[in-house]
């Protein structure tokens, strides 16, 4: 039996108290770990989806809504913009790349994105099966879509208007799956990607399904030939009352443009230039996501404050447990001194008691935290879609564990310091 063993024996001797203190600490550490896992993994996921996109151009409205709908595919779009905006931006020497997006349709709640093959390339999408779309009504589906719908190559499906999956179907215009993407860990995984011309055609602004095959094959010029015979697809969720929806002679439209800069000069000039246009707005993903995270941050801070409060409570509880046992402990300390133990060793063994308790709570807290995240990810597929994984460990967790253990040691410090002040002869003379 060593002094360290004695520390354990004391903990075992007041098992109920020890269990309660460990429970308190476990709850606090688990809460903090869950916060860390959610915020770091989700913000990393946010960053990954927005990576390389310097600016999003779309219809006027909320810039955050524009970013959420066009990059993360979670909100409804702000509206549509003229297709010629694409050419205008592509002719700008400070712009490296422009990817048009036509949004607003879905299949069984999986969003259909009308775009160009560059969109798939941007997210590092690679074909697991099949090939890239090169004609209207050909579609490439993300890994999660394939898993969720069970669709294989050659599968035909009809997109419906609206994003919730309950809009009216475009019955006469079936899409065909020509490619299935390998998982990318990005938003691409849960999208159905097709040529932008498919969307126009589905909404009656192109000719029928296969007729404009050749033109559509030229990604960079997609849609130019349609300018005189149709107009853009509008998202009804955002623009239910759009007056010119099917009006003849109207221009073709897209929903948003993802823009990559060539030079940093663009960041200075381009957003303000675009925002001066009556129909357009420009939003920088970095700015909007920082704003969103700082808004979410208020809620996160509240939960974190609660968890920290819980940790302080458990620290106080450990302190009270050790301090209230001090009278009996003084006798034990005196006896340990009689048996030849040195004061620093006795001090260390009492601090160790607090540290062991805290370490047990901290380790259990990490396990419970990851367990809750695993459970949440298994229960809510959306969280898995967002890339939440219980198997990843964040450096911040180590900080939490160290902080909890340090707090345990700190709580034991005052009772432990008593060993340097205890009057052995006096304590031993006490016959109670």
């Amino acid at each position: 039996m060593t002094l360290a063993g004695l520390s354990l024996a004391y903990l075992k001797d007041r098992a109920l108290n020890t269990a309660l203190n460990i429970l308190l600490l476990t709850l606090s550490v688990a809460t903090l770990v869950i916060l860390v896992l959610f915020s770091s993994q989700l913000s990393e996921r946010f960053a990954r989806d927005a990576q390389g996109i310097d600016l999003v151009v779309g219809a006027k409205g909320s810039p955050l809504q524009l970013i959420l709908s066009s990059i993360y595919q979670v909100d409804v779009p702000t509206g549509n913009i003229p297709l010629e905006t694409v050419d205008m931006l592509r002719s700008d020497p400070t712009v490296a790349e422009v990817i048009p997006l036509a949004l607003g349709d879905s299949f069984r709640s999986y969003r259909i994105v009308g775009t160009e093959s560059a969109y798939v390339t941007h997210f590092g999408g690679e074909m697991a099966q099949g090939r890239m779309f090169d004609a209207p009504y050909e579609a490439v589906i993300g890994a999660q879509v394939a898993r969720g719908t069970g669709a294989g190559l050659g599968q035909k499906f009809e997109g419906s208007h609206g994003l919730a999956g309950d809009g009216h179907a475009h019955e006469e215009t079936p899409f065909e799956v020509v490619g299935i993407l390998a998982p990318t860990g990005t938003v691409l995984d849960r999208l159905i990607v097709t040529h932008v011309a498919s969307i126009w055609a589905a909404h009656g602004f192109g000719t029928g399904p296969h007729e404009d095959h050749e033109e559509a094959a030229h990604d960079d010029h997609a849609g130019h030939d349609h300018e005189q015979d149709g107009h853009g697809h509008a998202d009804e969720a955002a623009h239910d009352d759009e007056p010119a929806h099917h009006a003849a002679g109207a221009e073709l439209e897209v929903t948003a443009l993802l823009v990559k800069y060539r030079s940093s000069l663009a960041a200075v000039r381009l957003p303000s230039f675009i925002n001066r246009q009556t129909q357009l707005q420009a939003a920088a993903p970095a700015v909007e996501m920082t704003r969103l995270l700082s808004l979410l941050g208020i809620g996160i801070d509240a939960v974190r404050a609660f968890a920290v409060l819980l940790m302080i409570t458990s620290g106080l509880s450990i302190f009270v447990a050790l301090y209230s046992a001090l009278r009996q402990r003084e006798g034990d300390m005196a006896m340990l001194r009689v048996m030849g133990a040195r004061p620093p060793a006795i001090f260390g063994h009492i601090v160790l008691e607090g540290v062991l308790l805290a370490a047990a709570g901290a380790i259990l807290g990490v396990i419970v935290g990851h367990g809750v995240v695993a459970f949440a990810a298994a229960t809510f597929p959306q969280l898995q879609d967002m890339g939440l994984s219980a198997l990843r460990f964040e450096p911040a967790e180590a900080v939490i564990v160290v902080a909890a253990i340090a707090m345990g040691g700190l709580a034991a410090l005052v009772p432990a310091l008593k060993v340097f002040r205890v009057d052995i002869a006096q304590t031993l003379a006490d016959t109670r």
């Binding site: 060593t2 004391y10 009689v338």
Partner: protein
């Protein structure tokens, strides 16, 4: 006549004052290896104080205590603790068994502190010797008064100290138990060859000890 090295305890001109009042005064005393001494005197005569000085827990106002040739009172604290750890086992009236540990664990801790490691065989043997073989894994609160005393004696002896000191080991006991306790101390000390020093105001023990050191309250003597 004992040789110096065999004089395990040597006390010279020892005085201790608390708040200017002399509470203990011993001109000279010594005990050789394996000798058993009864330190007898009324309450307040300074027995406990003398024991605390001998074990190095308090520093006397004047005089010197030598334990196994080393001056306990002039050693630095760390050396004092070391000397006590290696050479002295103590039994108190209040026993002071560690309540969170079983009898066996109490002995094991004492051994680990004194010797650096536990010797399970020695522990089992000693526990059997004091008649606690069936109670080895009991917690102190589960022991009767008599069993607790046996455990405390076994703990004081388990690191084979050269000196065993007991402060009022029998004061709370009835006649039969007091004598049984004294006999157990004597026989176990005999078995290990330890020098035994028992401080008591209990005259019932006088017959058991060939050597006695009588203390009187210093202020009465002065």
């Amino acid at each position: 006549m004992t040789t110096p090295s065999e004089r395990l305890i040597e006390v010279q001109g020892l005085r201790h004052e608390i708040g200017g009042r002399c509470v203990m005064d011993v001109a000279s005393f010594s005990a050789g290896r394996g000798e058993h001494t009864l330190l007898i005197g009324p309450s307040g005569s300074g027995k406990t104080t003398l024991i605390n000085v001998i074990t190095g827990l308090i520093t006397p106002t004047a005089g010197e205590v030598r334990i196994d040739g080393q001056s306990m009172s002039s050693l630095p604290p760390a050396k004092r603790d070391q000397l006590r750890r290696r050479t002295i086992g103590v039994v108190f009236q209040t026993l002071r068994l560690i309540s969170a540990l079983t009898v066996r664990q109490n002995l094991s801790l004492a051994q680990t502190l004194a010797l650096g490691q536990a010797e399970p065989k020695v522990i089992d043997e000693l526990i059997g010797q004091v008649g606690l073989g069936h109670r080895a894994d009991a917690m102190p609160r589960e022991l009767s008064q008599g069993e607790g005393q046996r455990a405390a004696i076994a703990r004081a002896l388990c690191a084979r100290p050269a000196i065993v000191v007991a402060d009022e080991p029998t004061s709370a006991l009835d006649d039969a138990n007091a004598l049984a306790m004294a006999d157990l101390l004597l026989s176990t000390a005999e078995a290990t060859g330890a020098t035994l020093l028992i401080a008591t105001h209990d005259n019932r023990l006088r017959d058991r000890f060939p050597r006695t050191l009588a203390l009187t309250p210093p202020q009465v003597a002065a």
